[in-house]
């Protein structure tokens, strides 16, 4: 812990960064995101086993951007988020200082995108086995059963948009859901409105989701939203050979054409 605090204090003091995005103790036993701009704030930073949130989503927030050059305490999902954001021209090389939390509790500095790419190339970025099982269970269902399953889940949705706020890839100034001229997606949190919203979000994340799971973590109604986007990861990998968030200069699988692309999905 002191290693982290010392490092961040030093970074803030020598103006390498203006703000460090890490974790601090919240109310009760909870951990929350922290935005340290001074040595005093840095002193409150913690890093424990509970610090699992993907903090990269904050890089895109208007309020955080205003604070200046950011440093970020990153896990694997955050590294991938940064790569995906870079491929979408949202962050530039050298604009983010990344401190990566290793499994053994030590920290590694990533100062360039190339070093992040090299690290990710040797890391398992797959979906966790328990999540894998749930996806297998969903895929084993008949279309009718799956439809009922999701309808039942979406029925719980209160359209608080916490999933959208937590997702590092939902950085649009104005989400399609909020576009009301014309209003394709109903605002109301009824059955169809909820379905439209979640399908739209899943489609917008196809080939971009870095399986951090923040959408499901954020959901106050415990909807397993991550499964919806995770299910799109394998088909895109198998069809186009693309995995999101691995390279800073990747081109989006669904916007590019290669002559050897599989076309077996065309009926």
């Amino acid at each position: 812990m002191s290693e982290l605090i010392n490092k961040v204090t030093q970074l803030l003091n020598d103006k390498t960064i203006d703000v460090f995005i890490g974790y601090e103790k919240g109310s009760a036993d909870r951990i929350r995101a922290a935005f340290a701009r001074t040595a005093e704030q840095a002193a409150k930073l913690v890093y424990t086993a509970s610090c699992t949130q993907n903090l990269a989503g904050y890089l895109m927030k208007h309020e955080v951007k205003k604070l200046g050059k950011p440093g970020l305490l990153a896990n694997v999902a955050a590294l991938r988020s940064i790569m995906q954001l870079a491929s979408e021209f949202q962050v530039k090389d050298g604009e983010v200082y990344v401190l990566f939390a290793n499994a053994d509790g030590s920290f590694t500095e990533f100062t360039s995108f190339a070093s992040i790419e090299a690290y990710l190339g040797t890391t398992d970025v797959g979906i966790k086995s328990d999540e894998q099982e749930m996806i297998a269970r969903l895929e084993a269902m008949s279309v009718q059963e799956r439809w009922l399953f999701w309808n039942k889940e979406f029925d719980k949705c209160i359209k608080c948009y916490a999933c959208r706020a937590a997702c590092p890839m939902c950085y649009c100034h104005r989400c399609t859901t909020d576009v009301n001229q014309p209003q394709w997606i109903p605002v109301a949190s009824h059955e169809r409105g909820n379905l439209d919203y979640h399908l739209m979000r899943a489609m917008h994340l196809a080939g971009r989701c870095v399986n951090c799971g923040e959408c499901a973590n954020a959901c106050p109604m415990d909807i397993p939203l991550n499964l919806l986007t995770y299910q799109l990861i394998d088909p895109i990998k198998n069809t186009f050979g693309a995995t999101a968030g691995m390279k800073a200069d990747a081109v989006y699988a669904l916007s590019t054409y290669k002559p050897d692309d599989k076309e077996n999905f065309i009926i």
Partner: protein, 666 residues
């Protein structure tokens, strides 16, 4: 409140036979915002258009819906009529009640109701239409001609003679193409070289034509009137400006046994070579794959003997960039490869050759100085079997089309043979004789009657060698499929004309479409035969389909006229139905977040980056911007844009939504 006019066309009986047009006009006339509605027998006729124009003026219409045929047919007609009446043409829409309604449904009340629905949808759309202005783009008055065969030569000369600059790119060391390989040409039997070479020289000397031989198109960017072409000038390994074309190097080159492509492998050439004596430019190139110096690292005989020291072994490929306004594709064709006919022994027996090889044998400048001698032993063949349709019209082999030129050149070959070997016997196996064309049938008749060519209707099953003879087995289908066996000295296959090698890659580089046989596709088989679906790119000659010389020349002149008419104006006008990135007041500037997924998806490279800067010159935001000249309005970017920051003029998100809702909220 809108003041929309609805004009329902009967299209004679095309619409009115199944749709009650009067009723459609009456019902839609009652819609909110519709000021005037009527029906008329032929809206596209002169009185029909006058009716429309009068109504616009009289009722002060601010939107028009013409319910008639497909907009592909008459949208330009009615938009022009609206413009003439003072209404912005893009406030006029067509509702297709013919192809989408009357033609596909029986006479019924439901059919009329559907027509009403279709009109209502358009009325709602027109309410959201905006007046748009045509886009003007400048034109670079230089044409690129790809390919220097007879079609390319003709197109280049025609364009250059109109006073425009032409850049010609030919991948071989010389222009001339297949025509330079031919001996005589049908149906007049005039010498191919004699009529071609003056034109080749004219190309080289024309002040408006810049010729790049041994060069290929590397990339094409841009759009009609404003293409940027990168040309790879392959290294010729010599300085063309110094080389005098004396030819000393070609005679001294120790590497002499390279099969000569120009002679279809019937002769040999050195590693530094000029493809044929009349080549333009008449300067050699080094074939690096076969040159001893490039293989073994020593030799350099050509450099030693060159009197002007023009050889440059270290010369590299050069890529030049040329701005052009139009492109003519004249890349020609190829003939089938030997492995296509194992049963004919082509490639296995030396005396089974293709038509182009026979042209070389018959040519005065060929490997035998025009004497017909078979490749295996140099004997004069006394019996030659000519096989028409070798590969063509053979669905089993994947070529279903007729190569078109083979019937004629086979007749020519038989004649040339007979004229040179008076005691020889030519046989022609054919499926049908297709001799449509001026003086063509008479020509074939002459081959049969005067030159005593034996025409046998039937196909060949197999050819094999026995005692120095080629045994040709076939059947005569006019004699009840009677088996026929001929002991021939030589067999000439009229191999199918196929797309040139590399045609598919080139089409993708240039961004034009091609057919399943990799021939370049025309925009319309009848009415736009020399245009492609890419504006500003035209086709000439056999790159489109097998064509004979007159047809190639005619197509080339046609393409040249298209280029000249494009260059007749200094600006192009085009429909403003293009994508646009929305703009908003600061601090948002636009809904666009600059993810640029639109940039990679755009098939026309029409998305650019625009930097929003503050007054200190600092970049605050980077947005997508649509190049109106490049955008074709396909809408792919719109589909991919997550924030709905891109929209298409004339087919906006709002308009489509309105149309859908008009149907749903009936």
């Amino acid at each position: 409140m809108s003041r929309i006019g609805v004009f329902v066309c009967h299209c004679g009986e095309n619409i009115s036979a199944t749709v009650n047009c009067e009723k459609v006009a009456k019902i839609t006339g009652e819609l909110k915002g519709v000021e005037f509605a009527t029906d008329y027998k032929y809206m596209c006729s002169d009185p029909g258009q006058t009716l429309l124009k009068e109504a616009i003026k009289e009722h002060k219409l601010d939107g028009v819906v013409v319910a008639a045929c497909s907009p592909r047919m008459h949208e330009p007609t009615f938009r022009k009529a609206c413009a003439e009446a003072g209404l912005n043409p893009f406030l006029c829409e067509m509702s297709n009640i013919r192809e989408h309604c009357s033609w596909v449904h029986p006479k019924d009340d439901l059919t009329t109701e559907k027509a009403q629905d279709l009109v209502r949808v358009m009325v709602e759309k027109v309410k959201k239409n905006k007046a748009l202005n045509s886009i003007k783009v400048p034109v670079t008055k230089t044409a690129l001609v790809v390919g220097g065969g007879i079609a390319g030569i003709q197109a280049a000369l025609d364009i250059a003679n109109c006073g425009h600059k032409v850049v010609m790119v030919e991948r071989q060391p010389s222009i001339g193409g297949h025509m330079s390989q031919l001996s005589e040409t049908f149906p007049t039997l005039d010498c191919s070289q004699c009529i071609l070479t003056p034109r080749m020289v004219e190309v080289a000397q024309h002040p408006n034509i810049t010729l790049y031989t041994y060069a290929e198109v590397e990339s094409v960017d841009g759009f009609i009137g404003n293409f940027t072409v990168k040309i790879r000038k392959k290294s010729k390994s010599l300085d063309e400006h110094i080389c005098t074309g004396c030819g000393l190097c070609t005679t001294k080159c120790p590497q002499k046994k390279i099969p000569n492509e120009f002679e279809r492998g019937l002769g040999f050439r050195p590693a530094i070579y000029v493809p044929f004596p009349q080549a333009v430019p008449n300067k050699p190139v080094i074939d690096r794959e076969n040159c001893t110096y490039y293989i073994k690292g020593k030799c350099k005989v050509c450099e030693i003997v060159c009197p002007v020291k023009a050889i440059r072994f270290d010369q590299e490929d050069e890529i030049i960039e040329v701005p052009v306004g139009a492109i003519v594709m004249a890349t020609g064709f190829d003939v089938l490869k030997p492995d296509f006919f194992p049963e004919y022994g082509y490639g296995k027996y030396k005396d089974v050759i293709d038509g182009l090889a026979f042209e070389r044998l018959a040519s005065a400048s060929g490997p035998t100085q025009g004497e017909i001698r078979r490749p295996s032993d140099g004997q004069v063949p006394k019996k030659i079997v000519f096989v028409a349709c070798a590969g063509s019209r053979d669905p089993a082999k994947g070529i279903e089309y007729c190569s078109k030129i083979c019937c004629m050149y086979t007749a020519k070959h038989a004649m040339l043979y007979k004229h040179k070997v008076h005691d020889g016997t030519p046989y022609v196996f054919y499926m049908d004789i297709r001799a449509g064309g001026k003086n063509y049938e008479e020509f074939v008749r002459r081959a049969i009657v005067e030159d005593e060519t034996h025409y046998i209707r039937g196909r060949i099953s197999t050819i094999y060698e026995k005692n120095g003879k080629l045994i040709v087995k076939g059947a005569d289908t006019l004699m009840g499929a009677m088996p026929i066996e001929i002991e021939a000295d030589m067999v000439v296959l009229a191999t199918a004309g196929v797309a040139n090698h590399g045609a598919e890659e080139l089409a993708q580089t240039v961004h034009i479409s091609y057919d399943p046989y990799k021939f370049f596709a025309e925009a319309h088989p009848k009415l736009k035969p020399v245009e492609t679906n890419t504006a500003g790119i035209f086709l000439a000659g056999a790159c489109q389909a097998p064509k004979d010389i007159p047809e190639s020349v005619a197509a080339a002149s046609g393409a040249a006229v298209k280029v000249a008419s494009l260059f007749s104006k200094s600006e192009l006008t085009r429909d403003p139905l293009v994508a646009v990135v929305n703009r908003q007041p600061a601090p948002v500037y636009s809904q666009c977040v600059g993810c640029f997924l639109c940039q990679s998806v755009c098939p026309y490279q029409a998305i650019e980056r625009e930097e929003i800067k503050n007054r200190n010159g600092e970049v605050i935001k980077t947005l997508a911007r649509v190049n109106e000249g490049l955008c074709q309005g396909c809408g792919t970017c719109v589909a991919l844009c997550r924030t709905k920051a891109i929209d298409i003029h004339g087919y906006s998100n709002q308009q489509v939504y309105t149309e859908v809702m008009a149907l749903l909220n009936d």
